[in-house]
């Protein structure tokens, strides 16, 4: 589970990195990159984390 959580954190972190770079060099193109790449990465990181927790709970019979 730890490995999956780390993977989720890396994905979410990448999303934040994209947004930081776009915020530092803000043009119409980087704004779109921030929205089209950065946001899905953050959402994906969150989804991976929740999926990891859900799977862990299911394996332990908690749900």
């Amino acid at each position: 589970m730890t490995r999956k959580i780390r993977r989720a954190a890396v994905v979410a972190g990448l999303g934040l990195v994209v947004q930081i770079v776009a915020a530092l060099h803000w043009t119409p193109a980087t704004f779109i990159v921030s929205a089209v790449v950065g946001v899905p990465l953050v959402l994906g990181g969150g989804a991976l984390f929740l999926a990891a927790v859900w799977k862990n709970m299911r394996d332990k019979g908690a749900v």
Binding site: T2, A23, T27
Partner: protein, 249 residues
Amino acid sequence: MQGEPGHGQGSRRLDPASQNILRDRTQRAHFLRAARLARPCEPAALMLPAQLIVALVAGLGIVALLVYGAGILSGHTVGRVVLLIGLVALPLLLTAGNISYGVHESSSTRFCLSCHEMQRHGESLFADNRQALAAVHYQNRLVDRDSVCYSCHKDYAMFGDVKAKLNGLRHVWAHYVAGVPQKIELYQPYPNSNCLHCHDDARRFVEGPAHSPILAALYAGTTSCLSCHRIAHDMAKVDADQLWQAGPR
């Protein structure tokens, strides 16, 4: 009319919005030359506020710490809650703030004029012509100078903002992929409703001798406001560098 400026060569105070758009006449002349030569260049980069960037960096730092602490934190309930907040709630909150600010900032005049092909339209805000719509509205502060493009070029219907943003995506596509057309034109005829959003029941508009006989047609949209107010952006004045002398006092 509040704060109506004078006309001609007199010195004028340059407000911060004007400073952001076009810093000085030398720079404006440079933009003009660049536009005439049609040299491709990247849009002028801006930077979002430092507070927003610091918040994003702090969030990234917390996420990085959680990468290393995941092994310990995932072992107990409180740790999982910390992970949930740090890896899901915090990044989502920061992302929402960033995108929200970005969408708001994308309505600003400086954002529209950050693309070089729009520089001449930015120049036309300073055109020395009391009949040109863009110049009149900008110079007389009839619209917010920080969002002057957006104020006139977005529809005010329920999905006006959405439509404006989608059109913005088309602009970006044209800038980077499809190529900018030789003549920049509206996607559709300019609707009277955009003018009437502000002028609707304004006394000067309703009682204006030219308006009163055709008010019904103007409200119905069967007669375009632009059929009389023909000059929206006075590019001839821009090309001749006949600009309103807004300069530091």
